[in-house]
Symmetry: C2
Subunit: 481 residues, 2 copies
């Protein structure tokens, strides 16, 4: 089986959505939510809503059953109660459907004999007719290149990141939040109970998928350790794999067992395996997204020597500590470079003309552009971190934006003109107005090719992981000839 | 010297603000900013704006010089350029002023002979006339009980936390951000170059201050290690001291030296000292605020056994891992308790009826109130963490608020009715609308006596630090008889 027919999931000619309601409001969870999501995401093929009562919605005919649909149906999304799943599978078999996604829960994850049996029965029919099953108990597929989405609010642009994410909630979060940091997806798959399509199938598929350059994986447990190990090894040889392995604690494993019926496996085994294949291991969902950002924006290996630039003495001291504690090198600037920078600013009060650097009040007059120019000409610096501590400036928030906007624009111009890698950190958000600004500033940066992180710590940790990954990758490549 | 005349800083009968502008717009940094801040904070004494050109502003007479002010002046805030500082100090001496705060920078922190000499000269005059000096190069004092503030947007309510914070930017941030998490301050002091009033004076003052129950300290370096150690020991015996010691890395120390001319000191020495006196050491500004939240809301010692409750299977698995990895205990619930909870919910699909617990879709119908009731009757649980992962729900943000609001209200009611400690975590914020909601939800919680954190990790780390502090405090008390 493995990856056969999975293409029908990502590139179907037509989709039937079973369990819509002609009466419910917009964006209701379930069938209507999927229908709206596909329409908003621009699905080009045929869309067939299905409800026993028939009727019409969103300008489309509602069919009483999958069997009643006139044209061929490649892919079916089911949001009807679990009790109807077996009948639906039989209908799909009769119709020649290639893949079914069961959004509905109420199967093996309950830990009751009935649910376990039902899941088995559905799978038996599916296997007999060569139908692939996604789920049950999951969000399914987001594949913007094909116009497939599980939520109407997701980004329509596609990109190089493929995410394997057992959990539906986390798949939603990553699709939204990573997109707001400039990550674009080839596909995100939430596969829930993994009755058929599982982490190994998806890892194999992503490894071969020409649209996927970076693989993210959130794994609660694996069905077949030996096969997964082989798939992971193969994938990691070809592309960066960012792994959030959860259920590693006793209580996390307990939750994973009830959530998707997964056996989490010993943490030490995972640690060893991930190190061996040079997959990047992360421990929180924020770090997981951080690494997707990092691999999306940094395409060439990069060292650990950083110049830190920001506004505010206290923030600068903290930045120096945090970057250093994570393992970055922050070389002091030589006399000549300090003189050049001081010359730009006038050697006025309140500035820290060294590394880390604080321009304080002079930042507003001089801007970051000429400073980044000085940095770019200094060979002992691999990249810069520019941090925006928007909560510590002594002005009310309504006066912030013009100042911060100018500095962000300077960073964008500086990166464009000088080409040396720059990382932006936006932290210390306090007012809702700050958060609005953060969302817009992030977008400005990532559209210009600059990655943005939420703290110095996260930026430092991510660039170090990237450096370590790249170095080890070269070593492994050399060793394997 | 030590704490003499410091009362004039926190409880002045009158304040002169030197360096206002009758022409500048509202909330300009500097003199006008201070004037507006005092008026907004409700300072009850006399306010005297000072500018050589005289005139009138905000309904107040502007005096050409401190000497021209008719009544007595206790406290002077200077935002004139450093060059005028010595003349001003002489004027203050003639007027019988008790304390001056120099907001202006341009003194010893520049590392140039002129600035160092100027700071010495000012101090010599001040010492001769018994005037205390705050700064230079700092934000000065926020003391809402006396109507003193360094920013017009700070909270007017006072409370039990005293913060010693060398850095002005970080003082601003902590005053704003901690307030939005329910922390109320007796006073916050940013003391910059510490030419006169320094960390030791303030530590001694806070230790004795009846309005201060909890001490926060952000320290770049200390002037007199021996005296500081004694002051810290004494303070920590009386009250919790939360210490953010920065400049502990080479680059952080370099920044601290330029920022406030501080020598940071060896990290190991600090580590030993802080452990010895049972001060709570933190490493980031967020952790610093977290502990102020924790000590503000938890007044009795508390154990490590927690019940985790939230929405979303993936979020629940991650919560279990993170709480466990930080060191909390998450005991599995006994059969009887699981049956009771399942009875509340119906044993429907998608819920995790154990610890950690996920109510999934049923949460909206059943709510958290009855679940917290079950938790409250279970002795093997010391407290609960209820987490709101607002970014992972499959509804567009405009439909979120009613759901989340109901659940927050349930937590508030549950805490009020059952009395067992509850901690709220609001994480996975993605949309600006989420952030707005977060700010309001936090306020609802802290007004009801419930602390709020930004992640499971931070909540767990904070409660563990609190437990460790309380335990060690009892041991030390027992040992010292």
């Amino acid at each position: 089986m493995s990856t056969s027919n999975l293409d029908a999931v990502f590139n179907p000619r037509s989709i039937a959505i079973v369990g819509v309601s002609t009466k419910a409001g917009p964006s209701q969870l379930g069938g209507n939510g999927y229908l709206d999501a596909m329409m908003r995401c621009g699905f080009k093929g045929q869309l067939y809503p299905v409800n026993p009562r028939g009727g019409e919605m969103r300008g489309l005919t509602v069919y009483p059953s999958v069997r009643d649909i006139p044209g061929p149906v490649d892919y079916v999304i089911s949001s009807i109660p679990a009790a109807g799943a077996l009948q639906l599978t039989n209908d799909c078999a009769a119709k020649g459907v290639k893949a079914i996604h069961f959004f509905t829960s109420g199967f093996s994850e309950l830990g009751q004999p009935e649910g376990i049996q039902l899941e088995k029965d559905v799978l038996a029919v599916a296997r007999q007719y060569g139908i692939r099953v996604i789920g049950p108990n999951c969000m399914g597929v987001y594949c913007p290149g094909s116009g497939i989405s599980f939520l109407a609010d997701l980004c329509n642009e596609s990109g190089p990141v493929g995410a394997i994410c057992q959990s539906g909630g986390n798949a939603i979060y990553v699709a939204r939040e990573a997109a707001r940091r400039g990550v674009r997806f080839s596909k995100v798959v939430s596969y829930g109970n993994a009755s058929d399509v599982n982490e190994t199938d998806l890892m194999e598929y992503m490894a071969d998928d020409p649209d996927t350059r970076i693989i993210m994986a959130y794994i609660e447990g694996v069905k077949d350790g030996f096969r997964f190990k082989k798939a992971l090894e193969r994938a990691a040889r070809r592309k960066p794999v960012i792994m959030l392995k959860v259920g590693t604690s006793e209580s996390g494993a307990r939750a994973a067992a009830s959530h998707t019926g997964s056996l989490a496996g010993a943490d030490k085994v995972w640690e060893g395996l991930l190190h061996q294949v040079n997959a990047v291991r992360v421990h929180t969902i924020e770090e997981w997204i951080d690494m997707a950002v990092t691999f999306s924006f940094f395409k060439k290996p990069m060292g650990r020597k950083v110049a830190l630039l920001g506004l505010g003495g206290g923030a600068t001291v903290l930045a120096g500590d945090e970057a250093n504690n994570e393992g970055l090198e922050i070389p002091g600037f030589p006399e000549e470079m300090r003189r050049r920078t001081a010359g730009l600013l006038g050697s006025e009060a309140g500035t820290i003309i060294n590394n880390p650097m604080d321009l304080s009040a002079q930042a507003w007059a001089v801007g970051y552009y000429p400073v980044l120019k000085v940095f770019s000409e200094y060979r002992d610096i691999d990249f810069s971190i520019v941090h925006f501590s928007v909560g510590l400036i002594a002005r009310p928030p309504e006066l912030h934006e013009e100042i911060w906007d100018k500095l962000v624009d300077d960073v964008v111009r500086g990166y464009r003109d000088f080409g040396k890698p720059v990382v932006v950190v936006i932290q210390m958000v306090t007012f809702p107005e700050h958060y609005d600004w953060l969302v817009h500033a992030r977008e400005k940066c990532y559209r210009a090719g600059i990655p943005v992180y939420n703290s110095i710590r996260h930026a430092a940790r991510s660039t170090i992981r990237f450096e370590r990954y790249s170095r080890r990758n070269r070593e492994l490549a050399a060793r394997n000839g």
